[in-house]
């Protein structure tokens, strides 16, 4: 069994309990430390975006809703918010990854890392919520 669903305030203070939630789900699904760390990064980056852009910059308050689903072959983490409709899976990757740091913008890196670190990265708008799903294959369970 994974951790129970969790609602957190949509502020940066949510990031620490979010990390604990993701690690608990990853442990329950049998992911190793590296896979758990990658998944944590993915969920953290999307949540950070929501808190800073969807809520913070617009002066909105809202919550982050986390749930975990452990299927025979995969672990799914669902992250929901009530911000304006926004599809992170449609964000283009940064174009300047191979430029020297002095010449680069660092926008878009978070979502780039999120997408890269999971096996599937899905978005849907459900009612007034954005729902992002992170899917990671469980070890020893091909498919």
């Amino acid at each position: 069994m994974g951790p129970d669903p969790l609602a957190l305030p949509g502020t940066l203070d949510a990031l620490d309990p979010l990390a604990d939630f993701v690690h608990a789900a990853a442990a329950a699904a049998g992911l190793d430390k590296k896979a758990a760390g990658r998944l944590h990064l993915a969920v953290d980056e999307v949540a950070t975006n929501t808190v800073t852009h969807a809520y913070g910059e617009r002066g909105l308050t809202g919550q982050l809703y986390l749930s975990a689903e452990i299927a025979p072959d995969v672990l799914r983490i669902h992250l929901e918010d009530t911000g304006p409709a926004y599809d992170p899976t449609a964000t283009p990757p940064p174009a300047d990854l191979d430029k020297p740091l002095e010449e680069r913008g660092v926008g878009g890196l978070g979502i780039f890392l999120a997408r890269r670190n999971v096996d599937a990265f899905l978005y849907e708008r459900r009612g007034d919520r954005n729902r992002v799903t992170f899917v990671v294959r469980r070890p020893g369970r091909p498919g």
Binding site: D16, G37, D44, E45, T48, V106, L109, F112, L113
Partner: protein, 111 residues
């Protein structure tokens, strides 16, 4: 798990030790240390990350800030980063701007 951080300056090197989780809620702590280090005119900055469990893109942004603030003559070393932290640095294209090393090598860093 919060972020624990400290700064030690000696032999023209600023050593910044980070432990715990470096995310958007804790990155300012790291940035403040980079600011302090930049004011000291060091020749190199070494980030000691052996006990850093986690780094988000907010941490990468502070590394960019350090690179820009310090100027090209100051070398940046990332020491002892854990696998996922190191992978994050590499896939983000930062490995040309910082030197990754498994353990603190005084002969190289303090030369």
């Amino acid at each position: 798990m919060a972020l624990t951080s400290s700064l030690e300056i000696g032999n023209n090197v600023a050593k910044i030790t980070l432990a715990g989780r470096l995310d958007a809620s804790t990155a300012q702590q790291f940035r403040d240390l980079v600011d302090q280090a930049a004011a000291k005119k060091v020749k190199a900055v070494a980030l000691l990350l052996t006990n850093l469990e986690y780094m988000a893109s907010a941490g990468l942004r502070v590394i960019v800030f350090a690179r820009q603030k310090m100027g090209a003559a100051v070398k940046l070393y990332v020491v002892g980063s854990q696998p996922v932290v190191q992978e994050t640095i590499e896939v983000s294209g930062f490995s040309q701007a910082v030197t990754l090393m498994p353990a603190y090598d005084a002969a190289t860093i303090e030369k």
